[in-house]
């Protein structure tokens, strides 16, 4: 496989009609995620990022291509491989990196970390650590959007210029197919007259849930359409290796879910180049498999299209884009390293409840009894 294998989008396709700058924007977004994640890996290996860390390298076109077909007011939830979603949704790289460093200017003051990117102004309702458990949350967001339109009749939670009809996106790994919450949400999402909701379940089918290949963990993995069919939900199968094809397939599908306020299921073939997390020996796949996918890289393919077919960019332009992305990522790391640490007084017990409860405080009499008034006598 290689860049030469990709097809030039047909002249009448949706993406072919988009202006050069839109596709150049996609390339920039994908390269930024790639470079940012390379920085993330380096920082993790230097033990500057704690906890666990799952990078998005290889899957960049999934978020860039699907978000391009959405409105900013459409709510999104995802799983724990979420840095790409945050950046593509508009989170500042500094806030994203600082969050992983556990630092105060992180998107959640360093309280969430790598797996829990929240960005309410950008309608990103979190990365989530329990596989598949985010699915019903997305359903609730979709139902809330419909409820807001149909019952309340005015915007309560989103930008006032949000479209009346919104659609929610839930991103899942292929491993989520095996979880109960996923199936409950699919069933609920298409119940006529009840919770039927404008929600698109996007399965980022990268072939592996941690070290278990989809064939070993999921029945009927060779024919995922049956899972959507079981709930009467519209099905789309597409791939991320060519972002123009992804956009061309996904845009009309998403538009229909929005317009008809109905659910959809997308089996989106993609591939992660790195391990599941930063400590994955990758015994479950051959190096040659990874190399084969790397030879059909979406960034390379779009670069080829923009340079050789659209002639919208020169090779030098691409070098500049890559350098800019490196600089932004480097700056993000510098920002995170220099950012202030969270304080015990400020962050240890705040934001657990709207009002601080007395025994949440490490400063009061609950501190191992050491400030118990009875012991001071």
């Amino acid at each position: 496989m290689g860049a030469t294998q990709t097809q030039v989008p047909p002249a009448d396709s949706l993406s072919a009609k988009l202006p050069d700058e839109t596709l150049v924007g996609w390339l920039k977004d994908m390269i930024l995620i790639r470079e940012f994640e390379l920085r993330t890996m380096a920082a993790y290996q230097q033990a500057k990022i704690g906890g666990f860390c799952h990078v998005y390298i290889g899957q960049e076109p999934v978020v860039v291509g699907t978000f391009a077909a959405l409105q900013h007011a459409d709510p999104i939830v995802t799983a724990y491989r979420d840095h790409g979603h945050a950046l593509a949704r508009g989170m500042h790289p500094n806030a994203c990196m600082a969050e992983m460093y556990g630092k105060l200017p992180g998107c959640a003051k360093g309280k969430g970390g790598s797996m829990h990117m929240f960005d309410k102004p950008n309608n990103l309702f979190g990365g989530h650590g329990i596989v598949g458990a985010q699915t019903p949350l997305g359903l609730g967001l979709a139902f809330a959007a419909r409820y807001e339109n149909e019952v309340i009749g005015e915007a309560i939670n989103y930008n006032q210029d949000a479209p009346a009809k919104r659609v929610a996106l839930v991103f899942l790994g292929d491993g989520a197919m095996n979880q109960g919450a996923f199936h409950e949400a699919l069933n609920l999402s298409n119940l006529p007259g009840q919770l039927r909701s404008p929600i698109i379940f996007i399965v980022e089918n990268n072939k592996y849930s941690m070290g278990t290949s989809i064939d070993r963990g999921t029945t009927m993995a060779h024919d995922m359409k049956v899972k959507a069919d079981a709930y009467g939900i519209d099905y789309l199968e597409t791939e991320a290796f060519d972002i123009t094809r992804l956009y061309d397939d996904f845009k009309p599908f998403a538009d229909a879910c929005r317009e008809e306020q109905k659910p959809g299921f997308v089996n989106l073939h993609c591939y992660r180049y790195q391990g599941h997390s930063m400590s994955d020996p990758q015994k479950y796949r051959e190096k040659t498999e990874v190399e084969e996918y790397q030879g059909n890289d979406a960034i390379d393919n779009l670069t080829h299209h923009l340079v050789n077919e659209r002639k919208a960019l020169t090779e030098d332009d691409v070098k500049t884009i890559r350098k800019d992305a490196k600089d932004v990522s480097k700056e993000a790391q510098k920002f995170a390293e220099e950012a202030p640490e969270p304080s015990i007084e400020g962050e240890l017990y705040s934001d657990v409840y709207a009002n601080i409860q007395p025994n949440l405080s490490p400063m009061d009499h609950y501190r191992h009894g050491s400030t118990n008034a009875l012991l001071e006598d």
């Binding site: 939830v77 309280k111 829990h116 967001l141 979709a142 139902f143 809330a144 069933n187 657990v352 009894g369």
Partner: protein, 324 residues
């Protein structure tokens, strides 16, 4: 003012909050057309329509997860879980999601959700339909846990819960759903979360309890010697619980008996007793006593009344503590 059962008081609170605020909606198994397994939501489907009183299938993880998503989306959902034992499938969503979003998102995403759950024994139901798991949820930072013991408190506490900015688990003791009536004001009012109620004032001994056990304690007090002055405290909120009222009372009386339905070991009474020894140690005249359920699976109905603390057991515990 009308004389209402606890079920009717909750039903009234739901109607009034739904009328006052379009963002309030109910979802759960049979809450709509059927009016709920205990008929708590009777009439609401007709009144507010299927979009605001949403019938769902039996799928607790999906119900709880969807409700959390609704709250993230700016609404004020009230999911109903039919019995406390059915919280199991929803536990992941409640504790790993709802309880943590305020913290995880530095307060930008909050979950103003009230989970209504019938709780406890005494209605001749089997286990999973008679349990008292309040300590589990009180042990989950980010959740509030409420359990009323009377129709008046039920209405006021439920309105507080619905208006609360954080997720509240609202346990409704089934045993007293219809067992007695009480005058309940027609107008809306709130009973604050986190504030206990001194049901009866006294000076010799403090009894701390909550939920349906409050009624058993009142009954027990009727048969105590007249010269024994007992102060009865109904916590009403299990978390954040009203330490000050309890500590003040025990510092006054020097003796305390804690009564609850849940198994004794690691029940919420253990927390109350610990705080009493931390804060009332020098005033204590006797060891803190617990009259609680046994450390066993909730028995089937033939032995149910042996398990539940009744007036006789509570009275015995009080007399032992008083005589120490």
């Amino acid at each position: 003012m009308a004389s209402l059962t606890l079920v009717q008081a909750i039903n009234l609170a739901l109607i009034q909050e739904m009328e006052a605020d379009d963002r309030v909606l109910i979802l759960g198994e049979d809450v709509g057309k059927n009016g709920g397994v205990f008929r708590v939501t009777e009439g609401l489907h007709e009144r507010f329509g299927a979009k605001r009183v949403v019938d769902t299938p039996l799928a607790e993880s999906g119900i709880m997860g969807s409700a959390i998503g609704l709250a993230m989306g700016g609404l004020r959902p009230i999911p109903e879980i039919q019995f406390e034992g059915f919280m199991g499938p929803a536990y992941d969503q409640l504790t790993n999601h709802a309880a943590r979003y305020r913290s995880r998102s530095r307060g930008s995403i909050t979950i103003p959700m009230t989970v209504r759950v019938p709780v406890g024994g005494g209605i001749h139901a089997p286990e999973l339909h008679s349990d008292s798991p309040e300590a589990i949820y009180a042990h989950t930072p980010g959740l509030k846990v409420v359990m009323p013991s009377s129709p008046y408190d039920a209405k006021g506490l439920l309105i507080s819960a619905i208006r609360d900015p954080d997720p509240v688990v609202f346990f409704e003791p089934k045993r007293i759903y219809r067992s007695f009536r009480e005058e309940v004001p027609e107008d809306e009012y709130t009973v604050p979360i986190g504030k206990a109620k001194i049901v009866e004032e006294g000076s010799d001994l403090t009894v701390v309890t909550w939920g349906a056990s409050t009624v058993q304690c009142i009954e027990a007090m009727d048969s105590l010697p007249e010269d024994l002055s007992v102060e009865l405290i109904d916590l009403r909120t299990i978390y954040p619980w009203d330490e000050e009222t309890v500590v003040e009372s025990v510092n006054k009386t020097g003796r305390c008996v804690i009564v609850h339905e849940a198994p004794k070991t690691a029940g919420f009474g253990a927390e109350v007793a610990t705080v009493i020894q931390e804060r009332c140690f020098l005033k204590l005249q006797a060891p803190v006593q617990r009259v609680a359920g046994f450390d066993t699976v909730m028995p089937y109905y033939k032995l149910e009344l042996e398990y539940l603390p009744d007036a006789a057991r509570i009275g015995k515990g009080i007399l032992e503590c008083a005589a120490y």
